[in-house]
Symmetry: C2
Subunit: 206 residues, 2 copies
Amino acid sequence: MTRETVGTHEVSSQPAGGRSARTRAAILDAARIHFGTLGYERATIRAIAAQAEIDPAMVMRFYGNKAGLFAAAAAIDLNLPDLTAIPRTRMGHALASHFLQRWEGALADEALVFLLRSAVTDEIAAARMRTIFAAQVARPISIALGRDSDAGWRAALIGSHLLGVALCRYILRLEPMASAEAESVAADLAPVIQRYLTGPVRGGVS
Amino acid sequence: MTRETVGTHEVSSQPAGGRSARTRAAILDAARIHFGTLGYERATIRAIAAQAEIDPAMVMRFYGNKAGLFAAAAAIDLNLPDLTAIPRTRMGHALASHFLQRWEGALADEALVFLLRSAVTDEIAAARMRTIFAAQVARPISIALGRDSDAGWRAALIGSHLLGVALCRYILRLEPMASAEAESVAADLAPVIQRYLTGPVRGGVS
């Protein structure tokens, strides 16, 4: 990699994960703040670049345009554990614990709050969220449950509950959900997630 | 009531529930659309009045200022049934059914979607939502459960699940939750709401 000047930052040849990675991370952090608070339409590359203290031309070089930058900012990996490696009766607890870890524990980042907040007002973000849900929640649950024709509906019930907890706890800050101990939240969610995974359900369609 | 000219509308003396009530309803409908899509800061009395085809001065006369108009638009009655009149083991089903009725059935209006959408981005709307939750969900549940010291936490679990269903079904339009039959949704939520009301919970705090 050649030496290059990036706004007030200098990016020089470095081992993998060096300044270029940090520059991208700074841009994505700024993008999540701007898209998350202003919405897609009102956020601008110029303002995002200014917040990241990067030349706007560098943002364009990395991400092409605003749509590309948004896609990168919203490229979220939920990092679900491999459900097929977990005993069927423990899946509810595994999903509930992972959910809390991913939103606020060791696996947390700003991207989830950004995406949820954006998705409520922007159709582009909502579409992104539907894609993430289908690929990273519904699909692995369906695979783990094998030939269960209700798997999609089970995933919908689980997703609606967990997103509701995220909404109340991290965004609306509805008490006592906002301040409850993470471990206690997971403990009370686990049996319900388990019920939705392996208990009786009506199926969602008539 | 005296005869008065209101923008392009004429408001004349009428029996109760006449044009004045319809004028107010038109203003509140327009206010919910503008606050809901633009957020509190960007919505203007002028634009709301224009959409309602009312003179802005009339909006001010009815609601005082933007804060007063917002409060009126967000003055939501969840119309919960009297839980103390429902057998304890039927409360889960009653709450789940009422929830669907209130959001999309005979009791539905635009105000709930407006408030939920606003609350995600506006702190004023989020505060309004916390007040509504405390007064209209947590309090009646607490009264119905009597001397249950976990009542507040039970209400939080229920609220998080129901708001999550609303989020996925009416706002994010996450499938299959968005298109599932209302009756099937209520049928699958009921036992979980019941569990949160009267089953074992850890309590939310350590």
